[in-house]
Symmetry: C2
Subunit: 272 residues, 2 copies
Amino acid sequence: MCKPRLIPSSVLRHIKPRPAAPSPRFTPLSTTPAPASTTQIRPLASWWSSKMPPSDVAKHLQADHDHIFENNRKWAAEQKVKNPAFFDKLSSGQEPDYLWIGCSDSRVPAEQITGLGPGECFIHRNIANMVPNTDLNVMSVVNYAVNHLHVKHIIVCGHYGCGGVKAALTPQDLGILNPWLRNIRDVYRLYETELDAIEDAEKRCDRVVELNVHEQCRNIIKTAAVQQSYAQNQYPIVHGWVFDMKDGLLKDLNIDFVKVLGQIQKIYNLTG
Amino acid sequence: MCKPRLIPSSVLRHIKPRPAAPSPRFTPLSTTPAPASTTQIRPLASWWSSKMPPSDVAKHLQADHDHIFENNRKWAAEQKVKNPAFFDKLSSGQEPDYLWIGCSDSRVPAEQITGLGPGECFIHRNIANMVPNTDLNVMSVVNYAVNHLHVKHIIVCGHYGCGGVKAALTPQDLGILNPWLRNIRDVYRLYETELDAIEDAEKRCDRVVELNVHEQCRNIIKTAAVQQSYAQNQYPIVHGWVFDMKDGLLKDLNIDFVKVLGQIQKIYNLTG
């Protein structure tokens, strides 16, 4: 069932010397040189080099693949040892209390930083933890989580140093990313006076991260699903948090859910 | 920075006796009764009961909140003990080799089942691991991961018993979820003869899960970002996997990336 496969021979056949990798149009999160590898964090330089012979590339691609299947077998075996009924329970259904809407960034692994296990948290992750009201993807997630899974908490979690937010604060054309990042620029516009007054660029960016979380929480509260469920059940409650990679801690933005709901409903009331 | 807050008094004020929870319009993943709680998996019945007095609801909401912040402080402290430089490295940047597109289902925690740590895997999760070509959310994720992060592998991972797939195979009106689930019905239509021939409903559903992963891999291969990057760099490679909750193992669908790329490019070639 889980037998690792070789990288297909059709891939190997096509591997040939390549030109140097194209320069990224923006550096997503940092220009700091990669530190040395540790067993804790994968080295930032990855294994790839433009000078690497094709056979080595193939070996690394295969090793990447095998690495995950090996990890997976180990994980599954460990769960069975800890609790022989683990997978029977897991496959019988889910009733998570939390919906997490976070960033796709590889350094914000939702379950690890919250200590939540399988079955506890329904997850949506996209670039910069956005909740645009016309986005069918995230709107379907919110609808499903509230109306069908009856989650008690919805968490929007941003993170300082967010590449999406940095990109949105940079005057450049990023093609298909432009309309997505536009939503972040729209947040800036709402708080233009406050943000313009922050002289330090990094601090200004971090404040946009926080304000963006506030606004995405508002976007969730504006939905019919949340307003109607709360009116009937007193849940879900919407929380805004920010993850700080410098110390690994979550910061609670202390959003007063009921107060914001009241403000929202002056214009966006959908409970009638 | 991470001080847990109380559930706002404005929430507590509004908590009052509630009517019984509305019946879900469909049971997302199983109708099997919840098994007893263990320390491994949160009890399926959650803490909520329609007969619970409001003060108890407030206590549970607060406990849910505190639980996560407690877990988070513990996790952060553990990382520092294991590697004092952990967060310095983490905050210096990301260069993940993998993009994971998986289901939002709480029982498929991507990093846990693959053993990947912070910084290793860029993540997008939505209902039924879909990659619709008009969806700006997932298309932005693919574009960012390929063109800016230069990921080497893109994994689409479905799972047997998927609630989204089950819902799409049920003749019912699910409101805003209809257009999202329509994409799964479109997959059924492509393989109608094969699927109609499977008499057992669960087996048919599981086969739709697999075929859906195949088709979402194709959708990724159809993008300009993937075709152009592969032509230049021989990466990323696209993989289709399915997670089986009954044993915790990943199953490789052995998609031959180069073969599929060739098939796709007869019609969808965007490398010119």
